[in-house]
Every structure is written in C-alpha cells, then in structure tokens.
C-alpha cells in the first residue's frame, strides 16, 4: 500500500466516519432530550407550587419565564433533532427505533396543541399535550431500550428484528412515510393558524390606528 492509499483511506474514513459519528451522537443524545422534555412538562405542578411561595412579583416572573423558556425550547429542540427519523436513507441503513418518526409526530402534535390552545390556562389542552408527549415517549423508549440498545441480547432477538429500523426496513419506511404525511398535515395547519392569527391581531391594530370618521354636521 502506497502513502497516497493510506492518505485516501484516512480522508474517506474521516468523512464517512464523521457522518456516522454525527448521526450516532444525535441518536445517543435523543433519549436525554426526550427525558428532559417529559420531566419539564410533567413537573409543572411543582414549579407552580414553588411559584406560589415567592413573595415578589419580579421573582415569580423570572421563575415562570425561565421554566417556560426551558420547557418549550427543549420540546422544540427534541423535535428538530428527531428529524433524522424522516431521512429514508438513514432509516434503512442505521439502527433507529422503528417508531421514532411516530414519536416525533407526537411531539409536533404536542407543539401544535400548545400553539393552537392556551395550554397553561386550559386544563383539557394541557391534558391533551401531556397525552401526546407520553404516547410519543412510549413509542420512542420501548423500541430504543429493548431493540436498538439490546441488539446483543440473544433472548431479545425477535424484538430486535421487529423494532429496529435497519432490521425491518419495509415497515420502518412505511411508518416513516405515514408519519411524514402527518407532519406535513400538522405543519400545514400551523401555517394556516399563524396566518389567521396574524390577520386577526393586525386587523385589530389597524382598526385602532385609523382615525374615527367624522360625520358631516346636519343643518
């Protein structure tokens, strides 16, 4: 083997290995993000309890604002990182939880509930968002723990062959396309909702700015 061959091999390895490493890191980081998302969402009663005991309005506002920012940004980041489950080549070639894309759809549905309804004031909306998050977490954790992270356990081989995307490519792609259609539908509704909301609020502002029409004096 010549020096150029070794150089080529190292270059290719860095490029291909780097890409694989990036995907593997995202996959490894997702359970942490999912757990943070769940804990922050389910921990709302505790945060409210602490909030009640803060004597000053400033402290209460800072506490609530920090909680909301953290909770909702972690939710959004988890969905953004889950986008790897919608890349067909990766779904077929990598060991992903087979229902990872459905879990991501549940995350988006929880986000849509938050955007469409006042989750922090409406108990039913909060319950709906919680149900989507718990369903999504279940769809993510079970194939991850007993499939992807148990590939070397011989007694779980049947489970692995069903619930790992690279082992069950047809089903994995089917679930992915269905979830992608769901994501497209929810995103379309989010766009429509944003436009309608902007139209309403801007129309109100315009109405406030327009001077009242003066009627001619009756003689």
């Amino acid at each position: 083997m010549k020096p150029e061959d070794v150089s080529t091999a190292i270059t290719q390895a860095l490029v291909q290995g780097g890409a694989q490493w990036l995907v593997a890191t995202i996959v490894a980081f997702l359970p942490a993000l999912w757990t943070m998302t769940l804990i922050l969402h389910l921990g709302r009663p505790y945060v409210l309890r602490t909030l009640r005991r803060i004597g000053l309005r400033l402290g209460a506002d800072v506490w609530w604002m920090s909680y909301l920012l953290m909770r909702d940004s972690v939710l959004l980041i988890t969905f953004a990182v889950s986008w790897i489950f919608f890349q067909p080549n990766l779904v077929v070639a990598s060991d992903f939880p087979i229902t990872g894309s459905l879990a991501a759809l549940c995350l988006l549905l929880a986000l849509a509930v938050k955007i469409g309804r006042r989750v922090d004031d409406d108990v039913q909306a909060y319950r709906l968002a919680t149900a989507f998050l718990v369903l999504g977490a279940t769809l993510y954790y079970i194939p991850l723990v007993f499939g992807v992270e148990a590939a070397d356990q011989s007694y779980l081989s049947g489970f692995v062959s069903v619930f790992v995307s690279s082992q069950n490519q047809g089903l994995a792609l089917g679930i992915m396309w269905v979830s992608l259609a769901g994501v497209a539908a929810v995103t379309g509704w989010l766009f429509f909702n944003a436009l309608a909301s902007a139209n309403r609020s801007m129309a109100r502002q315009m109405a406030k700015k327009e001077p009242p029409i003066q009627e001619p004096a009756v003689q």
Binding site: M1, D5, V6, T8, A9, I10, Q12, A13, L14, Q16, G17, G18, Q20, W21, A24, T25, A28, P31, A32, T35, M36, L38, I39, L40, H41, L42, G43, R44, P45, Y46, L48, R49, T50, R52, R53, I54, G55, L56, L58, G59, V62, W63, S66, D120, V123, Q124, Y126, R127, T130, A131, V134, A137, V145, F146, E149, A150, A151, D152, Q153, L156
Partner: protein, 214 residues
C-alpha cells in the same frame, strides 16, 4: 489489506472509540454530579440561615430561586445522564466498567423527582425525610460499587477481588442485565405514576398549602 479495508477499520475505530469516550465521560462525571446533588440537598439549612439574614426581600427571593432551580435541575440532569444504565447492551459490554447498581441509583433519583412532583419536600417534613432517604439510598447504590468495584478491582486481592468484580457490570453481566431490567421496570412504574398524576391534576399545583415556613 485494501484501501477499503483500512477505511472501514478507521471508521470502526472512530465510531467505537467515540461511543466509549462518550459513555466513559458520562460515567466519570456522574460521581461529581451525585456529590453536588447531595451537597445542595444537605446544604438547605445553610441557605435558609443566609436567607434569614437578608434585609431586602428581592435578594432573599432570588437566592432561594437560584438554590431551588440549581438543585432540581441537577437532579434532572443526573437522571438524564444515568440513562445508559437502562441500555442492556451497554451494561453487558465488556469494554465499559460501570457500577452494577447504577440503574437502581438512577431510579432512586427519579423517585426524588416523583416525591417533589406529588408531595412538598420544601415544606412538609415527611416528604423531606423521604427525599433525603431516597438520595441517601441512591448515593449508597452508586458510590459503593463505584469505589469498591470500578475503582478498586485492580488493587483488590483474594475474596475482596471476587466482591469487587461482582460490583462491576463488565465482570458480572448477568446480574447487570437483571438489575437494568429491574431499574427499567421501576422507572416505568414511577413515570406512569407521574404522568397519571399530571393528567388528573391537569398540571395544577394540587397539594394543599402547609403552614410551616421555608
């Protein structure tokens, strides 16, 4: 050896080494996290003493908020970082040495979060004792196999070596896998309890106020 063979060998090395580095780093940071969590929880009387000395209400509120936020966020981070203990392939891997009861320690940490969600450990002495007990049990479950097993298996001799090897996942994979499944079951039950509580209360703080002060 062809260029492709060399490429594949380097890719395997990068990915395998990277994964082991990540898991090894998490395992190395976890004892520090545990110590800080314990320090913050046990340091509560010191913080309360300081709050009493504040002449301005704003400063007292901010100190308490920062203390509570930091303490609870570290507990959440501890649970998140302990997630590798729930993965059967990791706890049975021969390349990674982990404390054998690390998963149970993580379950105890999750139990602390559950008590904080359902109860009121900052105002109810019974809940505070429960949280302290869970943190103590979790610390024992983490530090005993970590110090006597993972960090002592090369210096232990005779019967101590047997005990030391028993406490490390890589030299006791059957027990490690069994304890991982027990930890998963505990986390699943507690997680279902937390979800059910939140669904029932609709995210509101339902626990009645107690009259004691901070």
């Amino acid at each position: 050896m062809s260029v492709q063979d060399l490429t594949n060998a380097i890719i395997d090395g990068i990915n395998g080494g990277g994964e082991q580095f990540l898991e090894g780093t998490l395992a190395a940071i976890l004892p520090i996290m545990w110590l800080i969590i314990l320090g913050l929880h046990l340091g509560r009387p010191y913080v309360l003493d300081m709050i009493d000395r504040f002449t301005l209400r704003l400063g007292a509120d901010l100190l308490w908020l920062i203390f509570v936020g930091l303490r609870d966020l570290l507990i959440v981070s501890g649970v998140v970082m302990s997630f590798m203990f729930f993965f059967p392939d990791i706890v049975t891997s021969s390349d990674l040495q982990l404390p054998i009861t690390g998963g149970l320690a993580a379950a105890a940490l999750f139990g602390v979060l559950l008590v904080k969600l359902i109860g009121d450990p900052d105002h109810n002495p019974r809940d505070f004792r429960l949280v302290t007990g869970l943190l103590g049990a979790g610390a024992i479950l983490y530090f005993v196999p970590y110090v006597l097993g993972v960090q002592a298996n090369q210096v232990a001799a005779g019967p101590f070596a047997t005990v030391s090897n028993f406490l490390v996942t890589s030299t006791n994979p059957n027990w490690a896998a069994g304890l991982a499944y027990v930890s998963i079951a505990l986390i699943a039950i507690m997680g279902a309890g937390a979800a059910a509580y939140t669904l029932i209360t609709g995210g509101r703080a339902e626990v009645p106020e107690t009259t004691s002060t901070k």
